[in-house]
Point group: C2
Chain length 286, copies 2
């Protein structure tokens, strides 16, 4: 028997992974969650049929969304993670001694339970005593927060699914308000390659550029993401992702990584011409 | 009817592209060549079942293998392209007025004929009067050349298939001899991500580091390549890919690109930690 899981990246492209067996499958109030065991990607989790993360490549995503802002902001004490119920982002954050509080807001309790059971290497991040988990809607949680966080990480997965509210103009405005006067927000920016993905990528940059004085985009190669090429947004009130990068301070922490280096940090902001052109067009429209 | 083309990137991962129709299919003396029309990638060509290039993403590959060395070497007059029968590399080279001679060595004449018929936007590069096409084995062609070229581009596709001879230690040695005293060789370095690909990636770096005093690796995101993440080798007798990059000289040429910029050039050499570690291990073994 051969069992293949297929992820429809667009209507015309799919990536299929040979699986050894299915470990979990359930419809929650928010999404369909499945967990599979595979040779190539180890265990992986899918939401509504799309791969969310795998044991083999989650390090790329989690390192890039955490260490880039942490190497720039000089004194992060309070962090808000929206989504992030698998624990990978909290795990990377837990390596920083100066952080005092990590609030994780995840709407789907079952998602957290599943990750605790099947992905202990991610979920261990949620066991850090500085972590508070709120099972709430991220947008609603944000509305009550003012001048509260140094860093907000929007780890939500899908601008079209049950987390769509986290990609609206209101959301970016609320993030701005919830941040302290020198706060940074990083977020998933999607993939710019396929035509189907490009529009949401444009809209995100337009909204972030409208709300924040500094809005830049950086890249990583993540094989299980659409086209394998993923962008992150860096929206900031004060610190610039390159000129405020402090290489010595970050290296002195001695954090072990497999993808991130401060050199790669710089390169991640050097984008292909077609992506630069797209972003500049949206900046003109804001 | 739905027709899907599947590219087995490893034994456990495949990428499938929905095709409108098949335009060509033939077994030559060297390989099985097929051409398809698709909505997502436009026309694409496969060799022995693997996608070689598509209209939608060939610009990434062709720009990155040509403009990186051309922005470094100050006076390229004679170029050898091994493989490259589709014409995309020759097309990018043809934008440089200072180049006097472009020798393209392609073993499979049918491959060139097919590209001329179905991919005129690539094959136009072969019509430049400075281009000479040799229908020969690349390794044999090289053996007779000494101190002949400023730049060698190894555009051959597969270290395991009919072009395997172009990935041997002898090949790198012959390239070194065929280059002038300040010559540069660039080559496809494969993808470092999947375990199946990693070994050939290691071997290539070991061989190139053994033959050339300067041997560096750079990256690009190419969706139709294995895992979407592709490496190139930059092996050089004299010029360093970063310290000898001449931004002003390159920009003054006014070449229109969609992927390459001199800023991206720098970022392309800033590699993920796991790739850096792999390359350093091989340098220790050379």
């Amino acid at each position: 028997m051969e069992l293949w899981f297929s992820d429809n990246q667009t209507d015309h492209v799919k990536v299929s992974v040979k699986v050894e067996k299915q470990l979990f499958g359930e419809q929650t109030d928010f999404q369909r969650i499945d967990v599979f065991e595979s040779r190539e990607f180890g265990r992986f989790l899918s939401s509504d049929g799309s791969i969310v993360f795998s044991e083999k490549d989650e390090f790329i995503y989690d390192e890039m969304i955490v260490h880039v802002p942490m190497a720039v902001h000089p004194h992060v004490k309070k962090v808000l993670v929206i989504g992030g119920g698998d624990g990978g982002v909290a795990r990377e954050l837990s390596y920083y001694e100066e952080i005092e509080q990590i609030d994780v807001v995840e709407s789907d309790r079952t998602f957290v339970d599943v990750c605790r059971k099947f992905f202990p290497d991610n979920a261990c991040g949620l066991e850090d005593p500085r972590v508070n988990i709120y099972y709430e809607d991220g947008l609603r949680f944000l509305r009550t927060k003012h001048d509260a966080y140094d860093l907000i990480i929007n780890d939500a997965i899908d601008p079209l699914g049950h987390t769509a509210g986290l990609f609206t103009k209101e959301f970016y405005g609320n993030c701005y308000r919830a941040l302290k006067e020198d706060g940074i927000m990083v977020y998933q920016h999607g993939s710019p390659f396929y035509d189907e993905d490009e529009e949401s990528c444009r809209v995100m940059h337009r909204k972030a550029s409208h709300s924040f004085p500094i809005s830049r985009v950086y890249q990583a190669h993540i094989p299980t993401c659409s086209s394998g090429y993923w962008l992150f947004g860096f929206a900031s009130k004060k610190y610039h992702p390159l000129t405020d990068l402090n290489v010595e301070r970050w290296k002195a922490r001695g954090i072990k990584t497999w993808y991130y280096t401060t050199n790669l940090h710089k390169g991640a902001f050097m984008l292909p011409k077609y992506v630069e052109d797209m972003l500049e067009e949206e900046e003109g429209r804001r």
